[in-house]
Each structure stands twice: as C-alpha cells, then as structure tokens.
Amino acid sequence: MDLAYTEEEEEFRARLREWLAAVLPALPAKPGPDDWPGRRAYDTAWQRMLYDAGYAGLHWPVDAGGRGATPTQHLIFLEETEKAGAPYVGANFVGLLHAGPTIAAEGTAVQRARWLPPVLRGDEIWCQGFSEPDAGSDLASLRTRAVRDGDDYVVSGQKIWTSHAEVADWCELLVRTDPAAPKHRGISWLAMRMDVPGVTVRPLRTLAGSTEFAEMFLDEVRIPVTHRVGAENDGWRVTMVTLSFERGTAFVGEVVACRRTLAALAAEARANGRWDDPVLRRRLGGLNAEFRALWRLTQWNVSEAQRSGGVPGTGGSVFKLRYSQARQELYEAAAEVLGADGADLDREWVLDRLSSLSYTIAAGTSQIQRNIVAERILGLPKGR
C-alpha cells in the first residue's frame, strides 16, 4: 500500500508540467458554450498540440498509435492538465475515450489505420449514436435497423442525446442487424460518416439553456459493410468493452476540478461572511472529506487496473455512484454560499449547478449503476 510515485512517474509529471507551463499561455480564448464550430476548432487545436508533443492517446496501446502509458501515468496526465487549467478533452471525448479504444481493441488493421490516426491528430471528431427515444437505460432495446443490401447496410431509425453531433465527422452507431435474435444478440457496431445523405441532426436544448446534444434522424442511410467493427450481431459485446473504459478513469480530471471548486467556495464564503455559519462551514468540511476520498478511490482503482494489466474493473460503478451525487451536493453548497446571488445565471457555479443534474443520469443512471454493483459485484440474483 503505497501512495508515493516512482522516480519515473515523477519525471513524467515534471516534464508534463514544464510543457504545460510553456504552451498554455499561448492558447486562444475559450469559445462560448453554444459556439459549436468554435468549440470544435478549439478542441481539435488542443488535440493537435498534444499530438505534436507526444501526449496524444497516452493510454492507447502502442500498436494503435498511442503511447502505451501506464494507468498511473494517465492519472498523472489528467491530474496535471486539470490543475494547470488546460482545456478539457471536449469534442474529442467520444473519439479518444470511446470509439478510438473500441476500434483499437476490436477493429481490423485496415480500420485501425483509417480511423485512429485522425483521432489522435485532432483531424476528425466522433459522436456517439447509442441511445434512442425508447432505448436509454435499456440500451439493448434499440430499434434503428440496418438491412444488408449488397456491400452496404441501409440504416433507418432515430438516435438521441448525441453530443457533438453538429460538428462530428463520424458516428459510432449501434444498429439492429437481426430483429429475430434475442435483443442483446442482434446488434452491430458501425462507423457512419455524418455527411452522407439521409442523416439529419436537430439540436436539443438542455434545461441549462445550452445545446449540449442533439437528436439524429437516419433515413435509408447507406453504410459500407466494411465499416462494421467486430462481427455482425456481436455489437453488444463490443459495446460493453467500450463502456468499461468510459467508467474507468473518465472522471479523474473532474474530481480534481471539484476539489478546486470546493476551495474556491470556501474562499468565497469567507469573503462574503457565510463562513461564520457553522452549518454551512461543516457542510463544506464534509464535502472536503468526500472529494479527498473520491480521489483516493480513484488512485485505488487505477492501481488495481495497473495490476490487472490495464483493464478497469467494476469499481468504476462504485465510484460513479458516489461521485455523481457528491458533485450535485457540491453545487447545492455553492448555492448556499452564493445566497441571493444563487439566482444569477451570470454568477459562477449557477450554470454548473444546473449542469450537475445530468450526472446521475448520463453514462448509466444511478439506478442502473446500483443494479450493476448489486448483481456483478455483490452477486445478488438478477431481477425480473
């Protein structure tokens, strides 16, 4: 049981810090939340900088163009970039953390060579076409159909909650290729170009007022069979490989960010006098315990992944349950600190408070995560 970093790890951290200090001051101003072309340009420019410096795809395997870094190095990367205020992965999220790792693990040599380098260089952006209006938490109920026609699939259906759809070049798409098979067995994973005929994207407005995601209508879209990753009807297994990555280290940077926000809340409370309220002060103290422990749990999970050869375990669900709740509590406390200013959308943290409502829903609701923990970790019988 050791929390000390090795000499090699500390050296990696030092070089990264040096590089961040050199490049971050030259970055352009961050675009507004609804300026999608601006956000794409900003995020891809940052990805290009990472690529040129050798930090792109740090956690990807070497034969997929990545650096094959250890989980601990990846943890250090996420920690240091967040601490330095570097851009978040942003529009590259699906490509770097989702579609890319899936293609790296399950794709053919041709597919890897075609799709992976542009993700690492920041040339192409991916979005995720998984959820449907009637297939959210029950993802395997998806109905978007793909019918084989010669060398193509002809795809029709509707997708929803598709982040970055407006600016994406590619979509990782789950489709039903065998309607007669049991629902988990008839699904395939396809890569779809976003500019082909039959794709219509309509932005959705969130309760925070932003256009964070979109719905997508597919009308007889032709996708080459060669764009299928994994075997036909094996898409569910391919997807599960990907989801374990999503829940592994996806929130490392966010925990660091929450600890920073908490310190800023304490400073604000001292400045405006709210700190003298022992109930609020103790609440902030309790949140300090939460986020410190969540950081330790992250280190625990990363160490476990490192020992097991890089595969994130089910600990991700345990982490996500507590983290998503703690993050909502953080912004509830922020509203307490702000007092009357908590109604001012221009004040820092007010928009974050609204955004935080999605954390217990996105990437698997808390209810679904509890089922996963109860059935897969605790071994309780499956419900009916």
């Binding site: 049981m1 050791d2 400073a267 315990a289 330790r296 990363v302 490192q306 509890r370």
Partner: protein, 335 residues
C-alpha cells in the same frame, strides 16, 4: 504508485481473520454476550502473544516492527469480529506501559467529558485531556471556526497508572453497547506520566475508523447473504430492486471509507484522518441500519448480530473524534 495491499499485507489480514475466527468466532462472541462482558484475560494474553498490541513496536523492543497501515488492517478485522475491549488504547500504550505490549495489562481510554469504557477491568488509563473541541477540558479546547489543534498533545495527555481512586469515584452507566461497559468519571484527573509522540488522538481516531470500516464491510456481507437466501413472493428478496439498491449503497459507502482509511494510514496526515473517521463512522452506522432493514423483523431481535454492530458503531462515532470536530478540521483545511 501502487495503492493496493502488498502480498505481506494480504497475508497479515488473512492471518488475523483466521486467528479471530478461531478465538472469537460467533459462538464465543454470543457466549461472551450472555455471560457478562468483562475482559477475558486469557484471550487478552493470547492477543498479546499474537502481536496485537506490539505490532508497531520495534523488533528490538520485543515488537513486530510493522507500521500504521498494518495496524489499520488489524483493527479492520477487530471491527468485523465485534471483538470487545479497549484494544486501541492498549495498542497505543504498548511500549509506554509495562505489560501492555504482552497483553498482561488492560489500558482503557479516558477522554475528558466522555464515559470511560471497561474501567472496571483497567490496569491503567490513557488520558486524552487537551485539544478536545467542546469538552471544556484544558487549554486548546473550544469550538467554532478554528477547531483547535485537536490532535496536538496537551499538558494533560498521558498515562495514568493508578486507576483505583478513579474507579472508586466513578459511577457505572447503563451502556448502549452490551459489549462496552461504561463508567462516568467526574472531577479532575490527577498527575499523569507523559507519553512521547503526542499523536495519540489522531492515531486512535484512525484505528477507530478502521474498526468502523471492518464493521461496515461485515454488515454489507450479512445483508447480501440474507438477501440471497430469504425468499418472499417466491423469490430471494435480493432480486427485488429496492433491496438490491440498499445493498449497493452499503458497498459504495464501505469502499469510499476504505479509500479514505487506507490513504490516511499511509500518509498519517491529520486532515486525511479526520476525513477517514467521518466517512467510516457514516459507513458503519448507516450500513448497520440498512442491514437491519434488509433483515426485516429478524433484524429487530436480540438473536441477530446486526444490533451489536449498530450499537458499537454509534459508540465509536462519539469516540476519539466526533463528526462535528472532524468537519471543522476538514473545513479549516480548505482555507
């Protein structure tokens, strides 16, 4: 960074668990409960021989030469097994009080303003006087924003060897926890011999947090086992989502507390220890309550062990470091 148990630590944990299962299994635990809860001196000496109290003493001084992380693993197992007695105070006093390391002496903890557990069996007292927010005892006490140096050694901290006078003046308290007889001590405590180091309260809080962690893990297992066996409406109750979600919540609390407690053991940092105690108290108390709920009517009986975990968890929550002080320490750290 390798924040996982080492092979030696795993072996140690297995060894302690097996030792406790052999010496203080469920039958003996229930027999002790029914037959009065005085300290079993023979068992105490066996624990001494096994190195329970001398775990952190240097080998040259007859100890085992291990560190705080190993002590935490030991006390986690203590928490699982419901083993009673002032184990933490005796562990902390080993090396400073003759016979404590070997299990020949029983050292109880006297924390100003709190009832003293196991005073009737004590051969000595570990006195925690100063720096206790809200206790009103000694310099450094107080409440509010500053929180004081809760873990700093105070002029009244130390060892008291002569307990006869204190025992005679003390009044027995009808204890919430049937395994922990309590006495109310009034008046001033006399001269004490000082202990070197001075991290007594912090280390005690960490080891109590480890006990809470062990209890939280155990009640999670008990709930999961019951939910998998007990059938209602033709199915194990664990197949119902409402029960399933209670159990999942228990594991989440346990694992978060585990991260906090183990990290605090490695760093020995006072703020980390405060966080560990806060989260472990929460996990132990709320898990025992949820375990009781999962057990249904059986959970409310004396026969089920759940109430013993809950009562001990409640008691420990008020010992060494309370939630109020821990939260103040953690708040002060933000500034």
């Amino acid at each position: 960074m390798d924040f996982q148990l080492s092979d030696d630590q795993r072996a140690l944990r297995t060894g302690i668990r097996e030792l406790l299962a052999g010496r203080f299994g469920r039958d003996r635990m229930r027999a002790a409960l029914d037959g009065g809860t005085g300290i079993d001196r023979a068992l105490w000496r066996e624990l001494g021989e096994a190195g329970f109290f001398a775990l952190r003493l240097p080998e040259a001084a007859g100890g085992v030469g291990l560190g705080l992380p190993e002590s935490v693993l030991l006390f986690e197992e203590v928490g699982r097994s419901l083993l009673p007695g002032p184990l933490i105070a005796t562990h902390l006093a080993a090396g400073a009080v003759k016979g404590a390391a070997q299990g020949e002496a029983v050292i109880a903890a006297l924390d100003a303003g709190r009832p003293v557990g196991h005073l009737g069996d004590a051969d000595g007292l570990l006195v925690l006087g100063a720096g206790y927010a809200g206790s009103g005892a000694g310099p450094g006490s107080g409440s509010g924003a500053g929180s004081g140096a809760w873990d700093a050694p105070g002029p009244a901290d130390g060892i008291l060897r002569d307990v006869v006078g204190i025992r005679e003046a003390a009044e027995p308290v009808r204890s919430l926890d049937p395994f922990t007889p309590l006495w109310r001590v009034t008046g001033r405590v006399g001269a004490v011999a000082h202990l070197p180091g001075g991290a007594l309260r912090a280390e005690g809080a960490l080891l109590a947090a480890a006990e809470q962690l062990g209890s939280a893990a155990r009640t999670t297992e008990m709930a999961v086992q019951h939910a998998g066996e007990r059938e209602q409406f033709g199915s194990p109750i664990g197949s119902f989502q409402a029960v399933k979600h209670l159990c999942a919540g228990m594991l989440v609390r346990t694992e978060l507390a585990r991260g906090a407690v183990y990290a605090a053991a490695v760093t020995a940092d006072r703020v980390e220890i405060a966080g560990a105690k806060l989260l472990a108290d929460d996990a132990a108390v709320r898990n025992a309550r949820d375990c009781l709920q999962v057990h249904g009517g059986m959970g409310f009986t004396w026969e089920a062990d759940v109430h013993l975990h809950l009562k001990r968890a409640w008691l420990r929550s008020g010992q060494w470091l309370t939630a109020a002080t821990a939260e103040e320490v953690l708040a002060a750290d933000l500034c």
